[in-house]
Amino acid sequence: MLELAFKGSKRYYGWMTALLAVIGVGFGCYLWQLSFGLGITGMSRDVSWGFYIAQFTFLVGVAASAVMLVLPYYLHNYKAFGKITILGEFLAVSSVTMCLLFIIVDLGQPMRAFNVILYPTPNSILFWDMIVLNGYLFLNVVIGWQVLEAERNSVAPPAWVKPLIYVSIPWAVSIHTVTAFLYCGLPGRGFWLTAILAPRFLASAFAAGPSFLILLCLIIRKLTKFDPGKEQIQTLAKIVTYGIIMNVFFLLCEVFVVFYSKIPEHMDHMKYLFVGLHGHGVLVPWMWTSVSLMLTAIILLVNPMTRKNEPVLAVACLCVFFGTWIDKGLGMISGGFVPSPLHHVNEYVPTIPEIIITMGVYATGFLVLTALFKMAVSVKEELSA
């Protein structure tokens, strides 16, 4: 089946080459980081996690959102999703690939990464994150591949795939829950020390992932002979609507608790993000952009008139995706580190090489995504031909 990813149009090869070029540049910068150390990034003693870990967190959400296709199809027998479940699973595969790469590029000593397996430490949440992420990658690769191959051969998937599919549903929830536990179990980090962090992560995931999938579906329809379907896109849109409303609701819950209780250790982070603290507020415009994007999206999505209009829906999905990306990919991690536990305000801004490495990882993810989607779409085209 892999051969399908090697047969494509000029445009396909052009896109893949462009991605490879970005990967090449990113890898070059990574080699520089490897020889100099993480000092080429904007991270510091006070803000010891930055852009990489933030992207990792955001993408775990995108990966987990595959469950929003798998669950209706396999548990509720919602047939329409049968056509596009594979897209969700392959999106999960590429997202988890990026997550793992982001962890690797964030390590100070990546060649020692296997110490996590050689000296397994069950009391560390990172140990569990390693297990759930790799497990989820494995599940989606196997399930996606088997189901697509069966579809290609016009036979039912082997019976042993079914239990794996059922396992993959709670597993999807687990990857984002464990990722939230990385942060929310830390004493002295008031911004993250909230039991709602995992639910909030899941809500934003179920908004960001499906909104990205809608955009991908629209692109696929435009570029290929495979139509993911109007109904499918509309159902996804409803999922995005609930997801983004939940996410904003959870954010408001946080805002209430933090500002009504007025406990400085919790409130100051929120202040830093939304109004600035002691004259520092590099993220303030970003955070308000995020809030406005999410609110705009809610207006466009709740209203059936605008939701059913696909070009408008595409705009709404872009709003959801970038709104949640700023929220998680920029604010969530820096926001937890500023102010520091000693209440110093040392801000974080990613450096150019850091951003290039990040783009390299994203390009790798898109390369995997394009190849997998190419395979899936080619199979669908073969069958309808």
């Binding site: 150390g37 000092g39 003693r45 100070g108 996590v116 397996i117 050689l118 536990p341």
Partner: protein, 262 residues
């Protein structure tokens, strides 16, 4: 042919997975009582200072200005090969000074007396009884010794910096670049670090093993007192009994081993 190659790959894949999972299963097996192979016990060196739980009392009444703290910080940073960087982002420090409001942000008091307000406080790793960094470390590179010291294995650390996020006292530093060219004078008796690993105060375990007091205590002229918290006859216990002391962020339940007489 095709089929046998496929079978071979399958079996090889499953075996590889099984082999890499073995240490993981071992971890769970050993944690059960009866999984017990006996581990070799390391006996303390002859003449070494030992304790059930080492603790430090900092008598801040003996300090007047930042000048009094300098030799203490200098002594620690010198013997532990701490580099000096111009870029503040890359800063490494094991023991340093903070204003009261930063050392004790939860004890904020705008009408605090002038002495405390202007007095610099020494801060360092609290050698917590229940250390969040030990809990967070995914490789046991940060671990608790039998004498209560939270120690580090610089050779095992993968540089994930989970411990830095976990520490509520900002006591940990990361080697953002190779520190060696920035060490003024290398002390051959203590290892230098490489880039990409975390480090922090180790309560001078290496000196205790030789029967010596920690460097900061030696350099403090009696303002810092070191001893066994579990020994009712120790000097630290006597001081704690006769003086009012505070510890940093006790509400978090970490159980710091550094006490401040204020």
């Amino acid at each position: 042919m095709e089929n046998s190659r496929r079978t071979f790959l399958k079996i090889a894949g499953i075996s590889a997975l099984g082999l890499s999972a073995k240490p993981v299963f071992n971890a769970f097996a050993v944690s059960e009582e009866h999984g017990g192979k006996k581990e070799a016990k390391v006996l303390p060196k002859k003449g070494a200072l030992t304790a059930k739980r080492w603790a430090l009392v900092i008598d801040t009444t003996k300090f007047k200005s930042a000048k009094d703290l300098e030799p203490i910080i200098e002594a620690c940073h010198k013997i532990h090969n701490i580099p000096v960087f111009e870029n503040k982002r890359h800063e490494i420090k094991w023991i340093w000074e903070e204003e009261f409001k930063h050392a004790f942000p939860d004890l904020e008091n705008e009408h605090i007396n002038d002495r405390i307000k202007s007095l610099p406080f020494l801060v360092l790793c609290n050698q917590c009884q229940d250390a969040p960094c030990v809990r967070a470390c995914p490789t046991k590179a940060t671990f608790k010794q039998e004498d209560g010291i939270v120690a580090m294995d610089f050779h095992r650390c993968i540089g994930c910096r989970f411990c830095m996020a976990a520490c509520p006292y900002g006591s940990r530093s990361f080697n953002f670049r190779d520190p060696r060219p920035f060490i003024k004078e290398t002390n051959k008796k203590f290892p230098t670090r490489m880039k990409g690993v975390v480090e922090k105060c180790n309560f001078c375990s290496e000196l205790l093993a030789e029967g010596k007091q920690p460097a900061c205590v030696e350099a403090s002229g009696g303002a810092l007192i070191f001893g066994d918290l579990e020994d009712p006859e120790s000097e630290v216990r006597k001081l704690l009994k006769s003086n009012y002391t505070i510890r940093r962020k006790t509400a978090l339940g970490t159980g710091p081993s550094i006490y401040y007489i204020v």
